[in-house]
Every structure is written in structure tokens, then in C-alpha cells.
């Protein structure tokens, strides 16, 4: 499998705080890779650095063969990178359909109808609610909308930041079902999660992030059975 994303030795600072300390990892085409770790380990910071909202002082980020370390955030969508941000960050005052249209902002207008059709097929619930103001959706529906919105640009890599956050267990299962379906349909996924159990159960490979450093890596299966991971993240 070809390498789609390569993150090589990035260091990110928030003022004087050294948040990411020399993190390197890669995602191959067709994989689900997960970054797990406790709150504050630097998972979201890593994603934001890849998507250009934050900058690394060192190292490089290569996506689909191009160095994207200095590309502005809003230009990355055109390169095939989409992020579902933590806390969903949908546009609460806009309708469901308008939110999806924003996901297709970089696409030619002529493609929008077909993309909407495709996303509605993946998320029938969104179609039922297409004229509704997004702020009135339930948490699970909002997560679906955030994912649907990201898929509107037909990304080569979908980055999901804590998709299970704040959702009831049954909805978490639903969201992970959808993630697996998207994966089967050929989408490459980089998944950031605190819910290590769920994340490892769907991931091909995983990295453990602790206070800004990668401390462990392996296949999802290996890590789910690793003593260290069990103790730290899976409750013994």
C-alpha cells in the first residue's frame, strides 16, 4: 500500500508550552490508523498541525507525495484532506444541507448535487433533516453531519477527532459502525480517540501518544492486548 500521509518529527508549541515533541507516524492508503492517548496528550494538536491550523517548528508533513507543512489550512481540502474537528464544530445556525454544501466549498457547483446524494445515502438521517437548523439536531446526528460535511469534498484522507465524545454508548457504536463502513468503501481514516477500546477494535494500526510523544505503536490487535495499554487506557 502506498503511503498517503507521513508525519516526520514535528514539534509544536503553544507559546512556551512544548505540546508535541518530535512526533512521527504514517498512514497508508486504505488504512484506519488511530492515535490514542489521555486528555491533553496532544492528539488534537497533532491533527490541527496536519490540517494547517497550527504549525510545526521542525520536521515535515507529506501528504500524497506533497510537502504540506506550509500550506494554508483552507487550501488543504483541495489536496484531498478533510477533518472532522473535535466537538463537531458544525455551523449551528445553518441548515443541515447548507452545512453539507460548505463541505463541498472547494468543489465545482455542478458536483454538489451528486455529492449531496452520496452523503445522504450514507447518512439517511441527514436527508430526513435536510432543511432543519443544525443546532436543533441531537448529538449523534450532529456527529453524522460533521462526518457527512467532511465527506462532501471526497477526501483521500478523513481525519476524525474524538467522534465518540459526548455521545451515549449506543450512538458511539453507531458512529463506529459508520467509520467501518466508510473504511470498507475505500476511505483512508486517521482516527483520534480517547475511547481506546473502540478505536483499537476498528484500527489497522495504532499509536499511543503520551504528553506529546509517541510511546507505543503497533497493530490495533497488538495494542488492545498490550499490558501497558490495558492498564493505562482500558481500565486494567
Amino acid at each position: 500500500m502506498a503511503e498517503l500521509l507521513n508525519v516526520n518529527d514535528i514539534n509544536v508549541y503553544y507559546g512556551a508550552i512544548h505540546a508535541i515533541k518530535g512526533v512521527s507516524f504514517h498512514v497508508d492508503e486504505g488504512e484506519i490508523v488511530t492515535l490514542i492517548g489521555a486528555n491533553g496528550a496532544g492528539k488534537s494538536t497533532t491533527l490541527h498541525t496536519i490540517s494547517g491550523l497550527l504549525r510545526s517548528k521542525t520536521g515535515s508533513i507529506t501528504f500524497d507525495g506533497k510537502n504540506i507543512g506550509n500550506v494554508q489550512a483552507h487550501k488543504l481540502v483541495e489536496h484531498g484532506l478533510a477533518q472532522v474537528p473535535e466537538g463537531r464544530r458544525i455551523f449551528l445556525q445553518m441548515t443541515v444541507e447548507e452545512n453539507l454544501e460548505m463541505g463541498a466549498y472547494t468543489q465545482p457547483n455542478a458536483n454538489t448535487a451528486a455529492s449531496l446524494e452520496r452523503v445522504y445515502e450514507q447518512f439517511p438521517r441527514l436527508k430526513e433533516r435536510q432543511r432543519q437548523i443544525a443546532g436543533t439536531l441531537s448529538g449523534g446526528e450532529q456527529q453524522m453531519l460533521a462526518m457527512g460535511r467532511a465527506l462532501m469534498s471526497k477526501p483521500k484522507l478523513l481525519m476524525l477527532d474524538e467522534p465518540s465524545m459526548g455521545l451515549a454508548p449506543i450512538l458511539v457504536e453507531q458512529i463506529f459502525d459508520i467509520i467501518q463502513k466508510l473504511h470498507k468503501a475505500g476511505t483512508t481514516i486517521l482516527l483520534v480517540e480517547q475511547n481506546a477500546q473502540m478505536a483499537l477494535s476498528v484500527a489497522d494500526r495504532a499509536y499511543v501518544l503520551e504528553t506529546g510523544k509517541i510511546t507505543l505503536s503497533g497493530t490495533g490487535d497488538e495494542l488492545i492486548h498490550s499490558d501497558e495499554v490495558r492498564k493505562a487506557y482500558l481500565g486494567g
Binding site: H74, V77, A82, Q83, P85, R89, I90, L92, M102, Y105
Partner: protein, 305 residues
């Protein structure tokens, strides 16, 4: 009849406030800053239109068009040079810069165009021949045997305001750029992740607001034709008040706030006191903000967690 007369004058003045308030409210909604130089863009627009028509003899419509173009470019230039470098600066720094730009524009106008007042032409006067053969300037229509007099300026102002509001609502509701503006006003980082260029969006917002300021400038000058370099500050402040009154960040709020402010101001002048009218206008604003701090149509600003 005097009630109806006042109401119509109030709506007309309020329409001008509403058009100016759009510039404040849209820029605030998207760039989260108060552009205190906005009032002075009105003044620049008025001068451009004045010189184009009175000195260079262009037809009024071309004069207005030229003013709109100059102000649009001016607004975008101000944004690029003065505000864009401060995108991540504290809001106080941006505010002080905006006040600085306002003084800069007023003093540049003083140097360029001197403090001597210019009398703005009335584009809406029609030359009429009476049956007796006398020539006079007709500036409005008279109804009910002259009891109700509505000037053409008033009619055009109200009409232009309605057209602008409809056009802007259609723009923000139906076009890709308009929707992107709403997305940016809600969440800039999320908008960036969609591939929306926040800088371009802010630039377009300034362009629209400043172009509208030029139109408002021409309308204001047509009603109050005394043009000096500080002409823009008072309507600017009133329109800012109107934007806050209606709920800053909200386009219908600017419309409602502007109209109400204009009507209150004229009623205060007619029935209470001309000297106290501004005090009454601002007192109403204070009362509204005490009861509803987000303004009449403002949304509760939710802190993100």
C-alpha cells in the same frame, strides 16, 4: 398629518442608518471587530460623488457608481493595510487602529478638500413648468392638498434600503460566498477546514460594507446637503448605535435597529425637543441594552467549551 410626516421622515432617516449599520454589523459578524472608520468611508463616498457630478459634470448615476467603486476599493485597502496584520492581535489594538484610520481619513479629507463646506446637489429635483409659465424645482410630492409632503429623496432612500436588504438577504442565503460568510461568522477554524479562505471572506465583507457606505453617503447628503470632512462621523455613530440596538452581527437587526432609531430620533425632534433628540436616542439604546444585552434580534453568544 404631522404624525405621518414625522413617521415617513423617520423611516427615511432610519433607512440611511440601516444601510450604514449593515457595514458595521457584517464586519462585526465576520471579523469580530468594530470598524470605527466606517463612518468616514461614507464621507469619502459623498465627496467622490460630489466632485464627479458637480465638478466633472458626470450624470448622477455615474457619480454614485464611481463613489461605490472608490469606497469598495478603499474599504478593502483599509482592511488589508490596517486590520489584516492585526488578525490575531487583542481586540483593543484593533479598536484603536480603527479609530486611527477614522482620524486619518478625516484629516486626509481636510487636506485634500479643505474644511469649507460643499453644498451637495439634489439629484432628485425635477424642473417643472407651472401653467403660468414659471419654472421651479419640484423636490417631492404633495398629498392631501399639501398637508403631507414627501420628498423624492425620502422615497428613493426608503426604496433603496428595501432593495439592499432583499438583495443582501438573498446573497447570504443563496450564494456560495454568502453562505461562506455565515460559516465564517460562526466558526472561522471550522470554515478553514471546509476550504473557505477566511481572508478572502473578510475582504469581500469589507467591500460590500464600504460600497453600501458610499450609497448611504449619497443618500444622506441628498437629505442633509452640508458636506464637510467630519460629515460621516455622526451618522456613523448613530448607525453603529442602530447596529447594536438591533443586535450586532444580525442583518435583519441592522434593518430594524436603523429604522427604529430614525423614527425615534425624528419623533423626539418633533414632539419633545430638537436639542434633546440625540440624548433620547441614546437613552433608548441604554434601556434596550439593559433589558436585552444582545440587542433586539441579537443571538445569545454561547461560549464554546
Amino acid at each position: 398629518m404631522s404624525f405621518l410626516n414625522s413617521l415617513i421622515s423617520g423611516i427615511s432617516l432610519g433607512s440611511i442608518y440601516a444601510i450604514i449599520a449593515l457595514g458595521y454589523t457584517m464586519v462585526y459578524g465576520i471579523a469580530k471587530m468594530l470598524n470605527f472608520a466606517h463612518g468616514d468611508v461614507i464621507m469619502v463616498g459623498a465627496y467622490i460623488c460630489f466632485f464627479a457630478t458637480s465638478r466633472f459634470g458626470l450624470p448622477p448615476l455615474l457619480g454614485v457608481l464611481l463613489a461605490v467603486i472608490v469606497c469598495t476599493v478603499l474599504g478593502m485597502t483599509i482592511e488589508k493595510l490596517a486590520y489584516a496584520p492585526l488578525r490575531s492581535a487583542p481586540s483593543l489594538a484593533v479598536l484603536i487602529t480603527a479609530i486611527g484610520v477614522s482620524y486619518f481619513l478625516q484629516n486626509a479629507a481636510l487636506l485634500l478638500w479643505t474644511p469649507n463646506p460643499k453644498v451637495f446637489p439634489n439629484f432628485f429635483a425635477r424642473t417643472v413648468l407651472t401653467p403660468e409659465g414659471a419654472v421651479f424645482e419640484k423636490t417631492g410630492v404633495e398629498l392631501f392638498g399639501g398637508a403631507l409632503r414627501i420628498s423624492y429623496v425620502t422615497l428613493v432612500t426608503i426604496l433603496v434600503n428595501v432593495v439592499i436588504m432583499i438583495a443582501l438577504t438573498a446573497f447570504t442565503g443563496n450564494t456560495k460566498m454568502g453562505k461562506a460568510m455565515r460559516a465564517c461568522s460562526e466558526d472561522k477554524d471550522a470554515a478553514r477546514l471546509m476550504g473557505i479562505s477566511v481572508n478572502t471572506t473578510i475582504s469581500v465583507t469589507f467591500a460590500i460594507g464600504s460600497g453600501l457606505a458610499a450609497i448611504a453617503g449619497v443618500l444622506f447628503m441628498s437629505a442633509y446637503p452640508n458636506l464637510v470632512p467630519t460629515t460621516g462621523s455622526m451618522p456613523g455613530i448613530k448607525a453603529f448605535t442602530a447596529a447594536v440596538f438591533g443586535g450586532i452581527g444580525s442583518i435583519p437587526g441592522a434593518f430594524l435597529g436603523g429604522l427604529l432609531l430614525g423614527v425615534i430620533e425624528i419623533f423626539a425632534k418633533t414632539y419633545i425637543s430638537t436639542q434633546l433628540s440625540d440624548a433620547i436616542v441614546f437613552a433608548v439604546l441604554i434601556i434596550v441594552l439593559l433589558v436585552k444585552p444582545t440587542g433586539l434580534l441579537g443571538r445569545q453568544i454561547r461560549e464554546k467549551v
